[in-house]
Symmetry: C2
Subunit: 171 residues, 2 copies
DNA sequence: TGCTTGCCTGGAGTGCACTCCAACTCTTTA
DNA sequence: TAAAGAGTTGGAGTGCACTCCAGGCAAGCA
């Protein structure tokens, strides 16, 4: 159950690499844009093994970034061929979809790594995962409200310039 | 006219310092949060000259950041005392309010510098300013839509965890 | 057999937006 | 008058999230 979106534990090792925790509180991470997040990858139905190049194409992330995600513990153990090449599954693509969504909201990579760790630890972390996502949802709601308030300022100023344009047009 | 919010030209020099233009298209700048943007500075009515420390307190920006803003051309020529200390005016505080709003929406500093340049150039740039803000407004609207769509995903996943919690509670 | 293409790794580099430092001057209070 | 505290500068440092590079391996094909 909760199949495509929870990614149960598959290998609990892979400690986090170089991610110092001291995020400045006022600073939001960059928001990736238009990473073909919706309408996304047209998975060739029936397959379940993709090269890193294919995944890069489907997700809009670079192969570099995919390898980096794995290195910092943001991917849940990717399969390898006997020669060591990565083979991503549909499950991995689902996970990357979720990651893309969370990145869109500006969730710091460190927080997503934390979430990925909880997923690896199994069902015992359901409550913690729910808490983490609920907190983040509040954050997103606040952000939406902020954006609406700046929209008001923009409307006001654009109105001033539009008025000036109309006035000079009439003059 | 359009007094407090347009900051007409006052000294056209101050070329931009070290701001390479090559912003990566997918990358949004960080969003400063809770910089007491609303409810803001309780300007002691009647005054019109503030030290950098006072402005830092009112705006929530650090003195470092205020000096840096001036250096890169994001401030419209700040007055000085005869010994060279900055004295900010209410007009400067208005400008910083606008800047704070634009930063909240994730407008890159380079774009705000561009806007500040247009303001310094005077009324002839009204049309360009209107265009710039209108474009940015579209951006903000898109971002709001994105956030709403991720909110749906969050709701869905939180629902799954909540269901699991309720189910295990019943079992 | 050689050539091309795609993948591998660790580590270094990039861009943005600050943030801090050293060494100094100016202002205010005791 | 002395000391504390706030201001000044240019330039270096920080944190995040990638992004790139060199040097090498493996598979497909003319």
């Amino acid at each position: 159950m909760t199949a495509t979106m929870t990614q149960p534990d598959q290998g609990a090792g892979t400690a986090v690499a170089g991610l110092p925790e001291g995020a400045r509180p006022w600073q939001r991470p960059p928001e990736p844009r238009a990473c073909r997040a919706d309408g996304g990858h047209p998975r060739p139905a029936g397959r379940d093994r993709y090269t890193i190049g294919e995944v890069a194409e489907y997700t809009g992330l670079s192969a570099h970034t995919l390898r980096w995600y794995e290195r910092i513990g943001l991917m849940p153990h990717v399969d390898r061929t006997h020669t060591g090449q990565r083979r991503f599954t549909n499950r991995d693509l689902d996970w990357l979809d979720l990651v893309a969504k969370l990145r869109l909201t500006g969730m710091p990579v460190a927080d997503m790594v934390r979430y990925a760790e909880l997923v690896r630890e199994g069902e015992s972390t359901f409550a913690e995962r729910e808490r983490l996502l609920t907190e983040h949802r509040e954050d997103v709601r606040r952000r939406i409200a902020e954006l609406h308030s700046t929209l008001d300022v923009l409307d006001y100023k654009i109105g001033i310039y539009a008025d000036a344009r109309r006035a000079s047009g009439r003059a």
